[in-house]
Symmetry: C2
Subunit: 271 residues, 2 copies
């Protein structure tokens, strides 16, 4: 098993790569993790220029010697390369697994839209830097390497298609060439570090878009590190999402075990 790691979004660190490598060496000694040198570039906000990030993704995704592509971290930047890069993927790319979350959602969305069969929302190498980060890395690898059922979000229903996204990322890919067809999908959403009024506003956008009429329902993951609202917003994230589900006639299907934390479970896209 050979896993290629690229960084389509924000800057990544050698330190995080070393931690991931050390965990994998002990827990998955047969797995080869290959960090593309692009992971350690920096260009303003990003892990290298748009060209560098796009080319690194294409190089590894199109290389038949890799079984999976693992996105190093989120932050911001994948939307700048996703559309062009996905249009240049070949057959070897289609046979791979892809794993990431947060800003990687632009790529997960575009790959799912393009019919790539093995796309999943779950932990990334950067999660090694979190408290209890080892659990997240082991979960991600146990999914990529063994398809371990224990890595999966526990509320997934067999035979029903799912997709999972960060709320802000999902809202901002609607109407773009990255928007996947989520007809019949259960949509799992999570958020981090957004004020409650921004979560409410993003849910207005999602619930008021045509996509909302086609999904089977919404399950809400964790919304963590929500900055204090001034004045207090008056509703928590569950009340907000239930409000917009009710407004738009979307099925509210309860909570989900995903989020920007080390407990983030894996959600494979599709059925």
């Amino acid at each position: 098993m050979r896993i290629g790691i690229v960084a389509p979004s924000s800057r990544f660190s050698e330190e995080a790569a070393e931690r991931v490598g050390a965990i994998a060496a002990v827990r998955f000694p047969a797995v080869e993790l290959v960090f593309h040198p692009q992971c350690f570039l920096s260009h303003g906000h990003f892990a290298g220029s748009d060209n560098d990030r796009g080319h690194a993704f294409l190089e590894y995704a199109n290389d038949p010697a890799f079984d999976a592509i693992w996105f190093a971290r989120g932050g911001y930047g994948a939307c700048r390369i996703a559309g062009t890069a996905i249009g240049r993927l070949g057959r070897a790319a289609r046979e791979k697994a892809y794993l990431g979350y947060s800003d990687s959602g632009y790529l997960l969305a575009g790959l799912h839209r393009a019919g790539f069969p093995d796309v999943a929302h779950g932990p990334m190498p950067q999660d090694a830097m979190r408290e209890d980060g080892e659990a997240a890395i082991v979960r991600a690898l146990s999914w990529l390497v063994q398809r371990s059922p224990s890595a999966l979000e526990p509320g997934l229903t067999a035979g029903v298609p799912h997709a999972a996204f960060n709320i802000t990322v999902f809202g901002l890919l609607l109407g773009t060439p990255l928007e996947p067809d989520l007809g019949g999908h259960v949509l799992l959403l999570e958020e981090v570090a957004e004020h409650m009024y921004r979560i409410d506003r993003a849910m207005f956008h999602i619930a008021s878009n045509p996509v909302a009429r086609r999904i089977a329902g919404i399950r809400l993951g964790r919304c963590s590190e929500v900055p204090a609202n001034d004045p207090a917003f008056g509703e928590d994230e569950e009340a907000v999402v239930r409000f917009w589900c009710n407004r738009a006639g979307i099925n509210w299907l309860g909570r989900a075990d995903i989020g920007h934390d080390s407990a983030n479970k894996v959600v494979p896209f599709g059925a």
Copy 2:
């Protein structure tokens, strides 16, 4: 001339109302400003509940005794009431002027979509609290009362339709029932207090949406109070907007004299 003031978004203050009243009494003594009592309600984040805000807007907009509706301030909350309220406006509402910006953009958009002929982006009563706020209030009233050409954004082209929005607000109304038909419009955009990576991300969303193929071009107003990016983003707001215009084949038409400040000029929607 009788101007009704309602607050569809965040909480408003008696202090701001008094300042506006004092300025108007001196500069426009023949104008009657009527603050709806709803302006001074509070309900969590908002100037009253969704019901209170929606009903106040409907009451004044549908009342033939008012010549104009002036939105008290932005913040957040208009998207929660705009769709339902606009659907209940009658003939008296259609004959009025409407003025606001920022979060009021949800209402401006929905009114323009619904064919209301006298909708404009410009200063609000809350601007009285800014440094040099009197200039903003006088400009707004000189537009509402006298249609003073000096109140207008100086780059508007006669015979060409325009619209103006906050970048974040505009992005989050795309694809919703509030999205106006901006075919052939010059779109003026401004932003406040958003990180540069968020401006870039919102511009990805706008430039990648079908609306971008129909507009005549974009002019960029001021992006103020941009929080420091860590690391430095590497591009300023003009470079960001030009980048996305270039990517999407949108005409870049230069800068515009609008923004979250007391110099914010008036942009009437439509031709």
